[in-house]
């Protein structure tokens, strides 16, 4: 009788709870790691986008400052009789600007670095009245700018 009482099993068997625990902890750990990984990659993507946005608008501001200085030069040159010559002379004080005579007027080209891979390329044409027109305000890849290479797209011909 006593022996029977000793061997009788009461409640769930030993070990099941441990198996449940191991399963649950593995599940929870996987969820936690996946969540943290998603949150971290989300954060790093946003960080990079935010930095790029800041870099872009910093370059944009720099380009606008240069535009303002060029317009000041044009304003100054307007008072002289020979606008183009005076303007060319005045623009020499503005760093990084290349002037070119075009039928539409004087074309000033310059760029502002966005980051090490991209630049903001600007072309502004000043007419003889000292008014300007923005021809180009475009972000470009540095490599593309250096090599002048174009993306090879098949135009349908062999």
């Amino acid at each position: 009788m006593n022996k029977k009482g000793h061997t009788r099993r009461v409640g769930a068997g030993v070990g099941y709870v441990s198996v449940m625990l191991i399963f649950a902890v593995i599940c929870l750990t996987i969820f936690a790691v996946l969540s943290l990984k998603a949150a971290l990659s989300n954060e790093s993507f946003n960080e990079r986008s935010g930095d790029f946005l800041k870099q872009y608008y910093a370059a944009d501001s720099l380009a606008k400052e240069t535009l303002s200085r060029l317009n000041d030069c044009a304003h100054e040159a307007q008072s002289s009789e020979l606008f183009e010559e005076s303007f060319e002379e005045a623009v020499q004080s503005v760093e990084g600007v290349t002037l070119k005579r075009t039928p539409a007027g004087l074309s000033a080209s310059y760029s502002a670095a966005i980051n090490e891979r991209q630049i903001l390329s600007v072309t502004v044409v000043f007419n003889n009245e000292g008014k300007y027109t923005i021809e180009q305000w475009q972000s470009q890849d540095v490599l593309q700018e250096d090599s002048g290479s174009h993306l090879g797209v098949w135009d349908g011909s062999f």
Binding site: M20, F45, S139
Partner: protein, 148 residues
Amino acid sequence: MKKYKNKTLGDTISTIGSMLLFLLFTGCLLIMIAVAAGAYSRISKGFDKTFGASASLRYISNKLKSAESAEIGENGTALYLKSDGVLDIIYFKDGALYENNLSADAEPSTEGGSKIFALGDMNISEDGDLYKITVMFNNEQNFTYIRR
């Protein structure tokens, strides 16, 4: 006999206690798993939104910023961008954003592009001197403005 009876009572109490503890453990386990699944689903939705709506908005705006000229087509669901002798067509079709690169003098076509993002809807409109790019993702509308 008395001893046996006592043992049975002790066993019963012990069993009830153990079962209550087991129930508590199981309850905690289920609650934890439910909370974890909920949190994971919420985080994963945010992740999808970032790599769906926001990434597509940024992609289109960066493409616009680097294009020489831009034109809206197909009632605002396509954007024709020209730069360096390449016609880049970004368009919305069948629940996704596609991109197609053609030669600048080729006929614009919204066929045969590569799928870049899965989206609910995409629309580009002109709002004064700005382009308004609107995308729908998971029934949520996101937009951004880019100067023309």
